[in-house]
Symmetry: C3
Subunit: 309 residues, 3 copies
């Protein structure tokens, strides 16, 4: 009886807060100060991951079924502007359970899910080789509108996802994708494919990593079929101390009939806490004739701070 | 003394959360997959209610007086875009107490308060007869800027509200409205009126419902004076099981000198929880010559999911 | 042992809420109803302070070091629109500790920090003499993009801050500022300076206040060098009762070769609670030939309500 009273007191005292439990405010803020060759120093939002905030919730409907939603807006922490109109990153609603998860709305494609999973330099947007060299990293449609997405549960380490979207009568707007992956012990392998009408392109991505303990080896292969681009990347994440990882990587991209583009990165991430990480890195494009991605630098030094909430 | 200690411990432990108690993040996400006659299948946000998120708070000032605010933004869950600039649905601030409630800002009009209260098919935006047939349902100004709103307390089941807004020197922007209603036992009756300068129209709406237990009967009458439109709707909500309601309704709208428009709906709502409802419905416009509302379908089948947070 | 159990129960009960503790939703809503001479009555957002909402968080990294972020969007409570794109007021990320605080992003300048600190009439945007007469109050760049800001800790009451921003290759966009201030017992003194390339102006502000108990005396001097404007203001805050303050102030602004502009205000603030304040005031420009700030009234009466959450 007394316990109940205490519990009631607890509920009463935290009642206002409990009313909040159906939604979580979350986000990530990431700022990097970088100096690119022949350019002025710049403060840029999203050095490792794009800054974003959002609302999400998950309600247990019983029998293992859950209703889930997520609304996410990207923003630029250097000037406060938001990227895209409204919840321009993600806006979905769906159900999950023993059957896996179904999401409807604006959702990252199943190809996007695995596209940077085996990139060196923490897949940092402003520093990693895949982000700065791969022509297919910036090219594809990430999060089409009116999307439908299904992810399987894990079967002994194997899992997969498929995604598509409704055209709703507008031609050439279908973006269909899938991925399959295996995670077990030190090994991770993933294959992704996207048939992207909006970009008139078909993307393939294969990634693998193997954790030796002393280092995690990384390898990625990508192909954009219609542009006839082949690209690959190798790298390694080295845990130098319990809260310090150094990563090195190289990427090469070649369009048929064109000169190859290549670059390498060296980066370090220092965990100040579970939620806050300081990082620094250097990227060099190794005198590439043409850069794969518009705006990518010949060389860059950057130092940044990332925080999740 | 011990109780106090426990209470203090509670307050300490939930301190971070208690700091949140002055504001509540809330919202609703609603997605419907529908197939309209002669159109491609579409995923649309706001099948029953418009998707929205907001911030609201209420502070007890003592003596029964409260300060209340609410900020609400509409969004489209299918593509993440937001509807209107900023808190385009509602943004108000005011006081409530024994005298009723006063709100200032961008507020739904007193006419809007009761406009869909006696509509069949759960007053679902994409499925209900009043939403799809009534010319006055889409026509009026919902939430004028610089609004002033007063709602009375309930007197033995009777209550009312009035709303207007400041022109602030801009001609023809006044939107004044009122409603009176009675709720008691099985009976609900409401009358609303809006003099809408922005639409150059005067709207009248009368609604009534009576709950027989086995079914709740619904009736609505509407009039747009300047356009000389008369419209009415009847329907019934039938509680088939404890968490399943089936609703049927019919609506008819006639502008003087024009052919009448009419349509009917059949819909079901299945409560998966207090906060999550699955629904499905069919609407048929019965070969109307002209639809009351632009974009309304000849016929439509829809299935959706609605979740509040 | 029992205490621990209670504590655990508390943590369990408020678990969902505790998950929220890494971010705080906060804000301020302020609405004023005012009648300006020769104009229609108007409802305006931000009578005392601009209405805003935001997300902020602070994480203890150990050793006194903290990671801090803040994202703040201004809005208009009268029509729900937002001011600026996205987090147009502030968006910053940084670290604080024994060394002071460093912030990066979109940040109020060090000059802005102290610009209204010694203004009468609660520094109310729509009512105070400095806001309505000083040409330098509306003129300067408040929160440049790509900002870098450092504030010292307090040394025996003395503290200071410096701010600047990266040009990032865009000419004439540098806004550099500093302030130094002293707070001790009844005395407050502050000096601020801003070299504002965006406005092609150099601003100086000196403010002081002295609390006699029966009244707090206020004085402000401002100068815009390139426009050759000198301006000063005096005032007093009188605590009439424990929750009622009456404030009176006068301001005068003179551009070299032009007629002086001047005005005075009388205002009262009544605290309904710690978070909610009702206020009223009168401003008269004393037949100024030209007003310092576009849109400033010849005279104005206003009554408003302000609430923080």
């Amino acid at each position: 009886m007394k316990k109940s009273l205490v519990a009631l007191a607890v509920l009463a005292a935290s009642g206002a807060a409990m009313a909040q439990s159906s939604v979580q405010v979350y986000g990530l803020v990431d700022l990097v100060l970088h100096k690119d060759k022949n350019k002025a120093a710049a403060l840029t939002s999203g050095g490792v991951n794009g800054s974003r905030w959002g609302l999400k919730g998950s309600e247990d409907l019983g029998g293992g079924l859950k209703a889930n939603f997520l609304l996410e807006q990207g923003f630029n922490a250097d000037d406060g502007t938001v990227s895209g109109a409204g919840f321009g990153r993600q806006a979905y609603f769906g159900l999950s359970g023993g059957f896996g998860e179904v999401k409807l709305g604006k959702i990252w494609t199943a190809y996007d899910d695995i596209s940077g999973a085996t990139d060196a330099a923490f897949n940092a947007i402003v520093l990693s080789p895949v982000w700065l060299i791969f022509q297919s990293q910036y090219g594809y449609t990430y999060n089409p509108n009116n999307g439908i997405y299904y992810a399987t549960p894990s079967f002994g380490g194997f899992s997969g996802a498929v995604s598509t979207n409704l055209r709703e009568g507008v031609a050439n707007t279908r973006v269909s994708a899938f991925h399959v992956k295996y995670e077990g012990g030190p090994l991770f392998v993933a294959l992704g494919y996207q048939d992207d009408e909006q970009k008139n392109e078909k993307y393939t991505r294969i990634g693998a990593s193997y954790d030796l303990g002393v280092a995690k080896l990384l390898g990625t292969y990508g192909r954009a079929k219609n542009a006839d681009v082949d690209e690959w990347s190798v790298g390694a994440d080295v845990p130098v101390a319990s809260n310090l990882v150094v990563s090195v990587g190289y990427a090469r991209s070649k369009q048929d009939g064109m000169k190859a583009e290549q670059g390498w990165s060296l980066a370090a991430a220092y965990a100040l806490s579970k939620r806050t990480t300081a990082y620094a890195g250097y990227f060099d494009a190794n005198k590439a004739a043409v850069m794969g991605r518009a705006g990518a630098p010949d060389s860059r030094f950057g130092v940044g701070l990332k925080h999740t909430f």
